[in-house]
């Protein structure tokens, strides 16, 4: 994501305020990104401040959750490049919501899109539909999301996600896991609070809840493409560790 600063931010803000007043529904439109506003040093550091998930005994969890799909990364051998990513492109939930690159929110009457810089666009249906019956949709990396407005809060309900890990606080997910998110503009629309609550009685003793704060980017911001090529061995490594003794 890059920002082109052009005059007119004030005009834009006025326009947005008028639009909001006219529709009475908050306008989440725009590019949003997380900042390290507590001096954690990294996004990983930010996530480390999230309370640990209260998980049930792993031996009682669903098999697909405890035996996650293998990554392509073979066990690390001394002297080899250190594999730090999975090499699988197009990470969905929850990775995309915590990523450093900006998220683009496109809001229309019936649907909200949340677009990352890679192929995991979230479709939030606001047209009153329910979730499909279990087994109808294949689990996917972003699941199936429906939303509704509760006053000035957009509440999103997501199911049908692939099994996996990566939930901040050490949680996991299965296709039965439910995620509830609450989106609310704060600070006059300059920031966006999103509260995530993960619930799955086969995984959590109590729902895992945490909050992310996103900052609004200037209106001249445009989307980049975070290129990822699974065929490129270099994509699957970031550093070569020093020789081990």
């Amino acid at each position: 994501m890059r920002k082109l600063v052009i005059p007119g931010i004030a005009i834009y803000g006025l326009f947005a305020a008028v639009a909001n007043a006219a529709t009475s529904i908050p306008d989440l439109t725009g590019f949003w990104e997380r900042h390290d506003d507590v001096g954690a040093g990294s996004f990983g550091g930010l996530d480390e401040k999230i309370p640990k998930a209260d998980l049930i005994n792993p031996q009682e969890m669903p098999r697909e959750v405890t035996q996650l799909p293998p990554t392509e990364g073979k066990p690390h051998k001394v002297g080899e490049a250190y594999v730090v990513t999975t090499g699988r492109c197009g990470n969905g939930m929850p990775f995309m919501m915590g990523h450093s690159a900006a998220l683009d929110i496109v809001q229309s009457t019936d649907e909200v899109l949340i677009i990352p810089e890679f192929p995991s666009t979230r479709h939030i249906y606001l047209d009153g539909r329910g979730h499909p019956a279990p087994g109808v949709l294949e689990p996917s990396n972003t699941g199936h999301s429906i939303g509704r407005w509760e006053g000035d809060v957009l509440v999103i309900d997501t199911v049908g996600m692939n099994a996996g890990g990566g939930i901040p606080g050490g949680g996991r997910k299965s296709p039965e896991t439910r995620l509830i998110e609450r989106y609310k503009l704060i600070d006059g629309g300059k920031r966006l609070s999103v509260t995530f609550t993960w619930d799955d009685p086969k995984i959590y003793r109590k729902p895992q809840t945490y909050e992310y704060i996103y900052y609004k980017d200037p209106p001249s911001t445009y989307a980049l493409e975070e290129w990822c090529d699974s065929s490129d061995p270099l994509q699957r490594q970031s550093i070569v560790p020093p020789p081990q003794k």
Binding site: T29, C89, L113, P119, E225, S231
Partner: protein
């Protein structure tokens, strides 16, 4: 072991307990096809491709029975429906076509002199272990006759298909082998791997109205080139006069794609290299980008927001961002080219005009419909307009690139509005799925099949 499998996967085997049960709805996805170029006899290779295109378009325009092999994969979102019984297997498709009847009761082909040839031919089948082998002759040359990879169906065509369930019944491999002494210098083999469609899939009637003159003009006319807005194009901030938001799908009669007039700078070696790069991109789940995203068989989702129109597909692509807030193109010295490029749009009456530059030449699928490929110098202009009271969306695409085309390449799609409850989801693409990788990298019919 076998008995356990039978119990564990109910419905995988047919009622007689002997043959796998192929019944169900099956759909093709972006990574479902392994189609090498056919080896054509000289006279078949010389056939004017424009004439062949016109012949197929004529059949679609007049709602003729489209027949084989179109029925098995016509580049639309509609799944085929296979109904298997002990004595016969039927295959029903949604585009205009009779159903295929594959007789498995031991009969032989009829005497050709006493058989009226059809677009589907006469099919008989038998089981070889877990594979249904289907033998078809008795074709005519009506309907859509083009065969994937090159060549056409004729009265002397002979088709052998091999159907086999894979992945516990979630996928279906069909290996097609065409022989024809008037078309091919050697048998032409390609493979499709269908995905089992979602539970609850039902048949839809794609009504074909030959009396619809607008449809006729679209299918047999020449798309009007779209004028490019020029290097200093800007988006306008006018309020949008209409809303093109919705789920849009391409059907069998949605495309009017003339052959491109390529520059003499484009060499066969270049074209072959680009084709291989495209295959590599699909195999490795790369971001496929524009124009692939706009022509995919799965529905696309268009959402018109306050500052941009976003277009999202289901295959492995980043969403398109078309900014309509008055900005200019990003300075090319600053912009890192992408698979979708940098798009700005403005409204001209009820038409959304989109101007795109900044394509990455070495990423994703670069093929352009009709021939040619995109480069870093490509310039795409699109015009989107609702038709038929909002039931359809016309999109005209014009590509300009002096490195590739002698004249701008213009083609047109007409999308149909998909049902309101359409669910657009990110289709799984696992570059490390060995079966999938072998299917896409090996010669058709050799990966994971006996």
């Amino acid at each position: 072991m076998v008995a356990l499998a039978l119990v564990a996967v109910p419905g995988l085997f047919a009622f007689d307990g002997a043959s796998p049960n192929l019944s169900g709805y099956w759909e093709l996805r972006f990574d479902s096809r392994n189609v090498p170029p056919a080896s054509l006899l000289p006279q078949a290779a010389r056939e004017d491709r424009n004439a062949a295109d016109h012949r197929d378009a004529f059949a679609i325009r007049w709602c003729h029975h489209l027949g084989m092999p179109f029925l098995m994969g016509g580049q639309d979102a509609a799944p085929i429906d296979i109904l298997q019984s002990r004595r016969e297997t039927a295959i029903v498709a949604q585009p205009v076509s009779a159903a295929r009847h594959i007789y498995t009761d031991g009969r032989t082909h009829p005497n050709p002199d006493k058989y009226d040839a059809t677009t589907l031919g006469h099919s008989i089948g038998h089981w070889e272990a877990e594979t249904l082998v289907v033998d078809t002759i008795g074709f005519n040359d009506l309907g859509v006759t083009s065969i994937p990879g090159g060549g056409k169906r004729t009265a002397t065509s002979h088709l052998v298909e091999r159907y086999r369930l894979l992945d516990g019944g979630k996928r279906l491999s069909v290996v097609f082998t065409w022989e024809d002494p008037s078309v091919f210098s050697k048998p032409h083999t390609y493979e499709y791997r269908y995905y089992r469609a979602a539970k609850g899939t039902t048949a839809r009637e794609l009504f074909c109205d030959a009396s619809d003159e607008e449809r006729g003009k679209f299918l047999l006319g020449q798309p009007e080139p779209v004028q490019a807005a020029g290097p200093n194009a800007t988006a306008r901030t006018d309020n949008a006069p209409t809303d093109i938001s919705g789920f849009w799908e391409l059907r069998y009669d949605s495309r009017n794609v003339p052959r491109a007039t390529l520059s003499t700078k484009v060499t066969p070696v270049q074209i072959e290299a680009r084709a291989q790069a495209d295959q590599h991109a699909v195999r490795w789940c790369n971001y496929l980008g524009t124009p692939f995203l706009m022509g995919d068989s799965a529905p696309i989702d268009i959402r018109q927001g306050r500052i941009e129109v976003a277009i999202s597909g289901q295959a492995s692509s980043v969403a398109r961002h078309i900014y309509t807030d008055g900005r200019k193109h990003v300075n090319p010295d600053v912009f890192d080219n992408t698979t979708n490029g940098d798009s700005i749009g403005h409204w001209e009456g009820d038409t959304l005009v989109v101007d795109t530059v900044g394509f990455a030449a070495d990423r994703g699928v670069t093929s352009i419909p009709g021939g040619g490929f995109k480069t870093a110098d490509s310039h795409l202009t699109e015009r989107f307009r609702l038709l038929d009271g909002g039931k359809k969306l016309s999109a005209t695409f014009t590509w300009q690139d002096g490195n590739v085309f002698n004249k701008p390449q213009t083609y047109q799609y007409i999308y149909y509005r998909a049902p309101a409850n359409t669910n657009v989801q990110n289709l799984a693409c696992d570059a490390f799925d060995e079966q999938r990788a072998k299917f896409l990298e090996s010669p058709p019919g050799t990966a994971g099949l006996k």
